[in-house]
């Protein structure tokens, strides 16, 4: 196995990176990938801005998979590393939801933020980029769990931090109260009255050898699931 060196695609004379100093609030050096994206995708690329030295590109959410696939595979871009997938909801409820993707090109030592706005009144769905970056698997599940944004084409779209049967909504949405939807005593009452089998996902129970030991209602549910599939 050979060692992969970051910065390998940069010209030889490029100086080593240094700690950034005196970064302006707005403006500054634009990531060269923005121009490349414009010439490749045209109007799909909405606008770009540079905040605190970081370039952010606004795109049409529906095109994210093609955009990142091109960014990953184009020899002049090589964004081979997905840093983060997240979303932002502003306090001003008039503003749309924002999807945020943080990409990094190790060979070029570049960092790019891609954003897309989602209309809150429409169906919250964007294409999954899990087929491009495996790292997106859990990150997108977390965004789904916390914001309720669905990712089309994801292999395993389930809640991740909250449990499967959680039905009170998506905690990081601004309309979700900080202390949850129920008072402490109500939460306790619900927890005591809950079916302890409920947190188990159907798929894990379906392979359980102790199927016959399950409660009758659960067996019926499982067989019904099987009939559907």
């Amino acid at each position: 196995m050979t060692v992969v060196l970051p910065g390998a695609a940069l010209p030889r004379a490029t100086p080593d990176p240094v700690t950034p100093r005196g970064i302006p609030h707005r403006g500054g050096d634009v990531n060269p990938s923005v121009d490349a994206l414009r010439s490749r995708f045209g109007t799909v690329i909405d606008r770009h801005e540079v905040t605190w030295g970081e370039t952010c590109v606004w795109i049409d959410a529906a095109t994210i998979r093609e955009v990142v696939l091109w960014l990953r595979d184009d020899p002049a871009q090589q964004y081979d590393y997905l840093v983060d997938v997240t979303a932002v909801e502003h306090r001003d409820l008039e503003l749309p939801l924002e999807m945020v993707w943080h990409l990094r090109s190790l060979p070029f030592r570049r960092f790019l933020r891609i954003k897309a706005t989602l209309d809150k009144d429409a169906v919250l769905e964007v294409p999954s980029i899990e087929p491009v970056y495996k790292a997106a698997n859990w990150l997108e599940r977390e965004v789904f769990d916390m914001f309720g944004i669905n990712f089309a084409g994801h292999s395993d779209m389930r809640r991740i931090l909250m449990w499967d049967a959680y039905s009170e909504g998506h905690p990081l949405r601004k309309d979700f109260p900080l202390r949850g939807r129920f008072s402490r005593s109500e939460q306790l009452t619900q927890a005591l009255g809950a079916n302890p089998e409920a947190p188990y996902a159907m798929e894990e129970l379906s392979v359980a050898a102790a199927f016959h030991e399950l409660p009758a209602d659960m067996r019926a549910r499982l067989l019904a699931e099987k009939g559907k599939g």
Binding site: T19, W52, D80, V88, R91, L106, K134, L172, L178, A209
Partner: protein, 437 residues
Amino acid sequence: MATTTRTLDVPLSTPMPGPNGTVRRAPLTADASGMVSPIDLPPGTEPDMESERMLINIGPQHPATHGVLRLLLELDGETVIRCVPYIGYLHCGFEKLGEYRQYNQIIPWTDREVYLNSMGNNIAYALGAERLFGIEITPRCTVLRVIAMELSRIISHLVWLGATAVDIGALTPFFWTFQERETVYNLWESWVGARLTTSASRIGGMAADLPPGWVEGLKGFLRSLPKTLDETDRMLTRNGIWVGRTVGLGVMSASEATNYGLSGPMLRASGVAYDVRKDFPYLDYETYDFDIAVGTKGDVYDRYLVRMEEMRQSVRIIEQALARLPDGPINVDDPRVILPAKSKSTSEMESMIHHFKLVMEGPRPPIGECYVPTESPKGEKGYYMVSDGTSKPVRWRIRPPAFVNLSAISKMAEGHLLSDVIVINASIDIVMGEIDR
């Protein structure tokens, strides 16, 4: 009693073909009450164990999962066919809470994500917030933060080393490494008053300057740590059991590791020399002379070697930092974020108002957003913060390295033995506080 024979009619997730290419199921019998027992098999038949899968649940309360991680394993014999991790048992909603707190009030939560690296998290958060405020910290603070971050890296790796050795069956290194870690906790205690949850950084500086004699204590630690590392190295690196249990386990190639978003020692063990300190430097890391340890095979053994070498390199960095530690203030001279001196705020009206407004209303960064990555012991940890100009962030996002690293465990564990899953899980170096947040 009359018995009826039926097959277990629930689908296995991925049925394993039998020797003749067909899926065979064990015939099970059920009595009138619906109870099934293989003992009641009709005479002359034997249960077909060929395609039987066993479902093993590890955790969430299990000492070898290093926290409240639950792993659901589907086994064929002792071989893992499928590994499904379930997380979220320690979900505290830090990111939600952050939206209701001022910027400095978030610092205590950064301790509690990765309690092994609390100082490193404090500083990583402060670096992000300072970018959002447009603040440049003082030279003394920069060097102090480098020392604190590298010491956190050392203690985090020491805990990892001790705990992983216990998982594999060697108890002694645990005591050696935890003894060293104790020294660092004593240093933390004398510096900021807390051992585990330090909350040491502030936006624009640190909570306190070093107490007298602290540097001498650190120098003593730097003398004793390499000896402990050498001892552990002698005990483990060429140890037959250690090598046999770790080599060739949980292999990730360089391209896979990059695609799975691994970072830190997990990525470097796979042969990708990506280190935030070198490639996107912060705190003047480019001025320190240190090397990046890179593995060649990407297995658990390489991750061990990488972490061992990182501790030695951290010692090098701390020695250089101590040699250059400048005098001067540790806090920036910026009234937007730094409180006035206590003597002034109790004697001057303006300073008292200033103090009151900073504490009650909190500092307000300009509208903007930033993501500042740092190299934490687990990997790339960054805080993505969005400000709308008020004293509380609109969004405070933790980029959790262990969360992304853990998502690759299904890939790493499949095909290995049950006992190896424990070792692979240990090699990821997870802290559930950070994964669940």
